[in-house]
Amino acid sequence: MGKHDDQLDMKRREFIGKTVLAAGAATVAPGILLTVARAANETRGVTSAVRWGMLIDTNKCADDCTACVDACNKENGIDLVQRPEGASDADWNAQRPQWIRKVKLRDMATQVVTTLPMMCQHCEYPPCVDVCPTGASFKRADGIVMVDRHICIGCRYCMMACPYKARSFIHQNVENQLVAVPRGKGCVESCNFCVQRIDAGNTTTACQEACDKAGHKAILFGDLKDPESEITRAFKTHNSRQIRAELKLNTGVRYIDV
């Protein structure tokens, strides 16, 4: 009797189990199918088949030229940031946003002088993304490291963590912005490879365009994953290196002769 009951019970359990499983499958399946179908159609937007990067030939970078910096300031509306009334020169220089800057170096052993532009190096493993508490600092699928201003709380931990001092905090109210480059008090920002141009289908950054126009051609921007791109070919023929390579961040920006 008892055994018989047990048997029945087992069957009932099995039945319940299978029913739940089937119901579950019926509920979930359309969702999965939909997702799969949508994924197949989703060709818009950035993809990881591309990784944007930059190669800077310091031999071609001219000492007294600031074309890249000026172009960046215009392209990204940095020139619209007003100096606060009453801020001293020193304060303003230390506090104003700078996405790209010219640095002049002298080798202490050989006395060789080099100039180069420094900006966000767009690491493959960016420390700023690691440390951001809210995830506002992030890396796009195409390798561009940028800040989602909507969830940046302005803690500046990314600025503490960045090994290249690439980031700027907006220290004051900003009244005037470009449509494509929002900017406001209390958030952190940095070079994003002119993401608005890239998304519009452009394949040069403002700094490269300006450098080319000035006749130096020291900056080469392109897709590191495309074997046919100019930058990939240049990488093969030139000896380039990453700044602070020992950190193994695999930067997207590399330099010739530093």
């Binding site: 950035v46 909507h150 470009l178 449509v179 929002p182 406001g184 608005q196």
Partner: protein, 176 residues
């Protein structure tokens, strides 16, 4: 003793309750000036927004948030419900023909948000007026995007679609 405290409670309950009722009546009796498109804006001359007005009123924040994620994380900038389109269409001009900030007192965004007491932080970072002509950084908004529909803003940033066309476009994109 006990009943008196009970009465006291009722009275103390009635006072804030009554106050609330009076206040809410005051709000309701206010003339419904909100919901009117700002005179002098482009939107005033077009028949409908990118979606029916009722829908926009109720859901614009969700549309904006959806598109903001598309733009920031996926780089899809030809979205239908971008904030810049709101500004483009709804910003009014002053007497001299210059644009007024859309979040300014009594302007399109402000009038409603002020009325419902919802903060409007978008314009702490976003531009409050339509793009100036020839601003280089805005090349993406008017320039050579191969993906973009190319209809919403032709060259000068003028809205050249009729309301009917817009609605069809909207349905099309929703189906997609």
């Amino acid at each position: 003793m006990r009943s008196s405290t009970g009465i006291k409670r009722i009275i103390t309950g009635l006072i804030p309750g009554g106050l609330l009722a009076v206040l809410s009546m005051g709000v309701m009796s206010e003339p419904a000036t909100v919901g009117v498109v700002t005179p002098g804006s482009k939107a005033a001359s077009s028949e409908a927004c990118v979606a029916p007005t009722e829908e926009m009123r109720r859901n614009h924040m969700d549309y904006l948030k959806h598109d903001r994620i598309e733009v920031v994380y996926k780089g899809i900038r030809d979205t239908e419900f971008g904030l810049s389109s709101c500004v483009e269409c709804h910003a009014a001009k002053d007497d001299k023909g210059g644009y007024l900030p859309i979040n300014g007192k009594g302007q399109f965004c402000d009038s409603c948000h002020e009325y419902v007491a919802v903060s409007l932080p978008c314009f702490q970072c976003h531009r409050k007026t339509p793009a100036e002509q020839g601003a280089s950084g805005d090349s993406a908004m008017t320039g050579s995007n191969p993906h973009r529909l190319g209809l919403l803003q032709s060259g000068g940033g003028q809205l050249t679609l009729s309301a009917d066309e817009l609605r069809r476009l909207h349905v099309m994109t929703l189906e997609k």
